[in-house]
């Protein structure tokens, strides 16, 4: 467990350096296996994630909790809503 903005994270996936299948695929995979209400974090170094990840989360009806920049990568956090 680690905390980002005081949100406890249930599962974190390190998708840095992932071009194929890519960070968004890792996020979708993580969401599928997480219980409803669970919080998932995905670490991505792909600039495209800033657009792709929130778009999928909105489309799939989950809750986007934000993008938190770190040194050389970003931590994207979302809650499984359904």
């Amino acid at each position: 467990m680690s905390a980002t903005l005081n949100i406890p994270i249930d599962k974190e996936i390190d998708a840095r350096g992932s071009f194929c299948p890519g960070p968004l695929m890792e996020l979708i995979r993580g969401m599928k296996t997480l219980p409803v209400g669970g919080v998932l974090a995905v670490l991505s170094s792909d600039p495209g994630s800033a657009k792709d990840i929130p778009a999928w989360i909105a489309k799939a009806g989950h809750e986007y909790l934000g993008a938190f920049p770190e040194q050389g990568y970003t931590r994207f956090v979302a809650r499984k809503a359904r």
Binding site: I13, D14, A15, R16, G17, S18, F19, C20, P21, G22, P23, L24, M25, E26, I28, R29, K32, T33, G48, D52, A55, W56, K59, A60, G61
Partner: protein, 399 residues
């Protein structure tokens, strides 16, 4: 140094390259290498893509694993039933079709202690993970198994027109470009058969574009458009409704079909789950550089068995096997692993068929994104040659 016991679970591309590479460097006095494989047959899975279209003439799809292994390596053919990291041993039982374990002197069950264990057990298809698939096995087709590809071939040869849907049943799945390649080859085949104007092709993809890598998606989308291939993006298949002949997505869309081609959900090997070693889907939590299984000393993983964020592909397994062989050779000799060669850097090299006799090539690693060249006949021919040269250069670890 006393002789070290290296046990490799799985005689696929990764396990075979690893075992042969180690056997070429270490003498039998230094290491006793045993490969345990469930069937004893080494399968070339990339060949299945061509089977439904009769495009696999001259392609060898399997060979006996024994014929591909160095004679210094013991091959045991049986089911691994338990991995015991505490006692550093695995247990094997005979395959259902034979009373003993070939390679282990007539035993029907055996416990094999190891000094180093490499788990290269690959992925398995898990239709139970998508509602409706396991309940209606005759309703959908796949090219992710030999049986599936042959049944799909029969279905396509009896097809007279209608709507074909290509669905992705779970993430991760083996060979991310394969559904796109299948779609392009299907378009070619239907045109050749004079059925294209009677057929709608619907390709679906989990992301908001037609392929995970943006530059590739941008390159191939105009090809889909010019060939009148429809695509539904942001479509993660969730339920198969066989009565209504509809595929439903996680995002809430419905797609009716006449012929459904699914990438079935995948999971890691059952023994990983029964030994309590994997995550929810049976993938092993693996260090991305050293390929050590996290929390388990002297256990390593490679290929589809890992949870690494790279494509589940023979190519990834191939490069991982090279790096891990270098590490294990150093470990056995009590030397420091080479900081460059014993680290996996995320390297993958694969081809993507774009139809009409053309293909492109994807080369990347953890640090460098792919810059695919424009599709051409050259890459198609290179893929074609690789499919044939495979048996002579890849399992042996020569490339």
């Amino acid at each position: 140094m006393p002789q070290q016991r290296i046990v490799v679970l799985g005689g696929g591309v990764g396990g075979t390259i690893l075992a042969n590479t180690i056997a070429r460097t270490l003498s039998p006095d230094e290491a006793a290498i045993t490969v345990v494989d469930a069937t004893g047959q080494h399968v070339y899975m990339p060949g299945w893509l061509y089977l439904p279209f009769n495009g696999s003439e001259g392609l060898e799809l399997s060979r006996p694993e024994r014929s591909l292994l160095s004679h210094h390596i013991t091959l045991a053919v049986g089911q691994v039933t338990q991995i015991d990291p505490v006692n550093r041993a695995i247990t094997v039982t005979h395959a259902p079709s034979v009373p003993t374990i070939p390679g282990l002197g007539g035993a029907s069950h055996a416990t094999l202690p190891y000094d180093y264990l490499v788990v290269a057990t690959g992925a398995r298809l898990a239709p139970d993970d998508l509602s409706g698939l396991a309940e209606h096995p005759g309703e959908w087709h796949d090219f992710y198994s030999l049986e599936g590809a042959l049944r799909l071939r029969a279905a396509l040869h009896g097809f007279t027109g209608g709507r074909i849907v290509i669905g992705i049943g779970g993430i991760p799945y083996r060979c991310p470009p394969a559904p796109l390649e299948f779609t392009f080859l299907l378009d070619d085949w239907l045109r050749h058969r004079g059925l294209r104007d009677k057929t709608e092709i619907h390709y679906t993809y989990p992301l908001n574009r037609v392929f995970t890598i943006e530059s590739v998606a941008e390159m191939v989308t105009p090809y889909l458009d010019e060939r009148d291939i429809r695509y539904n993006v942001f479509f993660n298949a969730e339920t198969l409704d066989a009565e209504r002949k509809v595929l439903t997505s996680l995002e809430g869309e419905e797609l009716p079909y006449d012929l459904l081609v699914m990438v079935p959900p995948h999971r890691g090997a059952r023994v990983i789950e029964t030994s309590g070693l994997g995550d929810e889907q049976g993938w092993l939590s693996t260090h991305r550089d050293t390929l050590e299984v996290k929390g388990h000393e002297r256990i390593y993983a490679l290929g589809d068995a890992t949870d690494l964020p790279i494509s589940k592909s023979g190519s990834a397994a191939h490069f991982e096997a090279k790096a891990l062989a270098s590490r294990l050779i150093a470990n056995v000799r009590g030397e420091d692993p080479d900081p460059k060669h014993a680290m996996y850097d995320g390297e993958v090299m694969c081809f993507l068929e774009t139809g009409r006799g053309q293909a492109t090539q994807l080369v990347f690693d953890y640090e460098h994104p792919p810059h695919p060249p424009r599709p051409s006949r050259f890459y198609h021919m290179e893929k074609h040659l690789f499919n044939r040269a495979y048996w002579h250069i890849v399992p042996q670890g020569l490339v």
